[in-house]
Symmetry: C2
Subunit: 312 residues, 2 copies
């Protein structure tokens, strides 16, 4: 039995149960009910290539925020292979100490092959944590693809983490990471090449600085020894203040809401399509004919819609 | 003036014009018209992390296939940053020699920030090349995200390329690359660590081998010196034969067609939604109220649909 009251008070068991219900789709009404209690948490995305030390950095940020008496939710998104199973989640183990503390809740999300729905699920889980009274929600993703860019949409501030290793800045450019960064972190900053990377990033971000009102800080950290972490948390606070005062926080959250509504409508239509418009057997029969080039997929798609009663 | 006849005969200018028309959406009827001439090309995806030497490998495979008098289309998908512009496409320059040959057509696709539509555009371009009489279509992607997994869907055979550098096999696991691989290639196989990587991959693929009828070859190549390339092309042919004889080629192509029809219907509904169901201004007004938590997005999405005349 899910208790909304317990959830709103930040009860860990209630959070866990609610997230499970949301993830499994067993209680679709729950998001509707808790929505009015959301909108208070500040969402920080931490993203970067594998091996950049994101988990350690997230741990360090959380520890710093805990000192400031903040309540923190962490979502670690890990597109793990169904074959490798949970093995790669091993680095989560380090988080255990933190997870036992009072004002923190950590959730790992593995895609188990269904990358498509991962961004949506992450957003839903963030809503649950938001309603549970978290001040900050830290969302850690491997910054490599569309899912990450989708998840970045849910974040107010995006921190992109790189390490001074060959190819990293080029990879970041290719993946479009620099365009979503509000704050850049060069982690493992005690390693060779970190100054070179700092210069590269400064150069790459100059263009964006000219057109934005934000100064795009580039910080060096050594997450394992907590070096540079309090400066990073300060910059996160600075960015929040900047968003707030400039009116951008409100503006961006509204446009995210509009997008969310659009997605909800699309999902309803998709589900209607699957259930009512065309049966699997019928689609298979049609695909058979298209395979033999007796039918044209473009023509048949229009015909299915005309016959669907959808009035399109 | 687009000429379907010229396209079907493999005229390079007609191919270029048709692809441009498809990419820009200036001629939506063209795919409908050329569809019946498709279905003959064999699609090979070549994917892997940045720096694995995919472009060089694709060049080498193409050169090998050219010797066998095959006609080859190459699509290089490059999610380039709008900030870095075309600079990262520099490595395409190497392809120029090949591009001038008679039986080959090379197309680079940059996402220019619109990752979402990239997979669909790639599939459309593949249809154009298919209709133009290509025997093989090689599709090169950076194997890191959802787009790549989407594009893998269009390929009959997927070749995953790794290099013997630290973290590569773990990264491949995390990105779900091993699950889509039909053939694994350890490129730059003359470097230290390549045997270790081979062993790792063998171990990782053992599980899949037990449940599949295919032996998942793992090959060493040095693409720059053409080492191992003819063995790779042989394995691609072997995989094609396996797919053909086992009936899987037909089965998978049919299920891809079913998916394609589904996507076409969804796209039509989405476009209807954008144009007719709810205006931008109206959505902004609603988002405003949701932001203040006066409205609930889940409830309002249902209401918009009920009032839309869509009969859902």
């Amino acid at each position: 039995m899910l208790s909304l009251k317990d959830l709103l008070q930040g009860d860990k068991r209630a959070i866990a149960q609610t997230i499970s219900a949301v993830e499994n789709g067993t209680n679709t009404k729950i998001l509707e009910k808790l929505y009015r209690y959301t909108g208070n948490a500040f969402h920080v995305g931490i993203t970067g290539p594998p091996g950049a030390g994101k988990s350690t950095l997230v741990n360090a940020i959380a520890a710093e925020l805990l000192k400031q008496k903040k309540k923190i939710g962490i979502i670690a998104v890990d597109p793990t292979s169904p074959f490798s199973g949970g093995a790669l989640l091993g680095d989560r183990v380090r988080m255990t100490d933190l997870a036992l503390k009072k004002n923190i809740y950590i959730r790992s999300m593995a895609s188990r092959g269904s990358l498509g729905g991962l961004a949506q699920k992450t957003k839903d889980v963030a809503l649950v944590l938001d309603a549970s009274g978290m001040d900050f929600i830290l969302i850690e993703t491997i910054g490599v693809g569309q899912v990450e860019l989708d998840i970045a949409q849910v974040c107010d501030t995006t921190v992109v983490v790189l390490v001074p290793e060959s190819g990293d800045s080029i990879q970041a450019l290719k993946a479009g990471l620099l365009e979503i960064a509000d704050i850049m972190v060069v982690n493992k900053g005690d390693r060779e090449g970190s100054d070179r990377l700092l210069t590269d990033l400064k150069f790459a971000l100059e263009l964006r600085e000219q057109t934005a009102g934000w100064h795009f800080p580039i910080l060096k950290t050594v997450a394992t020894t907590h070096e540079g972490i309090s400066a990073l948390v300060s910059e996160i606070e600075n960015h929040r203040e900047y968003l707030d005062k400039s009116g951008q926080l409100e503006k961006e959250r509204k446009s995210k809401i509009a997008m969310h509504i659009h997605e909800l409508i699309e999902e309803k239509i998709r589900s209607h399509l699957r259930k009512s418009v065309i049966s699997k057997a019928e689609l298979a029969r049609i695909a058979d004919k298209v395979y033999r080039r007796e039918l044209n997929p473009y023509v048949i798609a229009s015909e299915i819609l005309s016959g669907s009663g959808l009035n399109i």
